[in-house]
Subunit: 189 residues, 2 copies
């Protein structure tokens, strides 16, 4: 069960943004939409064993976490607006401390990275890490950042996590997940 979590540093925590302006007014929500796409889509199929968390740290706060569960997902199409629409619906739901489902397979709660780190044994995906192709064993859960680097507060939280790299070039979060899933596919269940 691969688990991905991506930090959206400026991603809005309410639904007051337009699907036509996800890179701007929504705080680079387009990055998170592409992460959702690449976490789940196979050709004519979905990766039912994947769970993907989006940690939204932008305005107006407080932080929220949206969870996409492959085994329950419906209504997700590959285009950015489709994922964006499901994120928007999640953010329009009143969120509490426990996950509440907004659409099938998509749920939301208040809270961010601190709590999530206590729930999964994450590894960090970063250019400085061990190459995933040579690593003897790969973990089940991976943490990534959006277009911004981890800030000091986040680095203090994740500084001790194991660290893996997908190759010699620095890639976008969604492309990193694609390469990682290819390695996991090749290793088999």
């Amino acid at each position: 069960m691969p688990v991905f979590a991506v930090i959206g540093h400026r991603a809005r925590t309410d639904g007051h943004w337009s699907l036509n302006d996800m890179p701007g007014g929504a705080g680079r929500m387009d990055v998170l939409c592409r992460v959702v796409n690449t976490s789940f889509f196979l050709s004519h199929d979905l990766r039912r064993d994947v769970v993907c968390y989006l940690v939204l740290r932008g305005e107006p706060g407080p932080e929220k976490t949206i969870r996409f569960q492959g085994d329950r997902l419906r209504h997700l199409n590959p285009d950015e607006r489709s994922a964006g629409s499901l994120i928007k619906k999640a953010l329009e739901l009143e969120a509490g401390p426990e996950f509440r489902e907004s659409t099938k397979g998509v749920s939301v709660r208040v809270g961010g990275l601190v709590r999530l780190l206590g729930e999964h044994s994450f590894a960090l995906l970063d250019e400085q890490g061990e190459d995933i192709r040579v690593a003897e064993r790969l973990p089940d859960a991976f943490l990534l950042s959006d277009h911004l680097n981890l800030d000091e507060e986040e680095l203090a939280l994740v500084g001790d996590l194991p660290c893996f790299s997908v190759g010699p070039r620095s890639l976008h979060a969604d492309h990193t997940i694609t390469v990682l899933l290819n390695e996991l596919d090749r290793r088999g269940p």
Copy 2:
């Protein structure tokens, strides 16, 4: 210089479609937008050595080919609407038999696969091909299909091309390109 060409079987050949409905009215133009994203984007950089062709075979015709050249590209952002907007501008330009530039690094001509096959030594990316990780040498130019399989006419044209696979699962065209570029990155220039 990696070259990618993707066939958009239903992608409209004029500009009469909305950036808000690329999967529907534009004939799955969203697939081609994601191919453009993954062909060029590195973290905070573009792959300047890549060329990406979109072969548009939808209504109203005739077929057109749009060329994105990494070494000249400007104005491309990672979100789907950004690539869509550049495609739309290219389709709004009157196209002739030779490439005409619509925006910096993006150009368009009338014509499709037959002509392109005469200009590059393409290999096909397909699940049945030789694994890119074990192939002794990889070609410079790769041909992919969008969400639809190649039709009989296309198969007759490409039947003799060498064929490569990126792994055990069948992936979307954009994800396939990401995995392939990772292999090329690892092999070096």
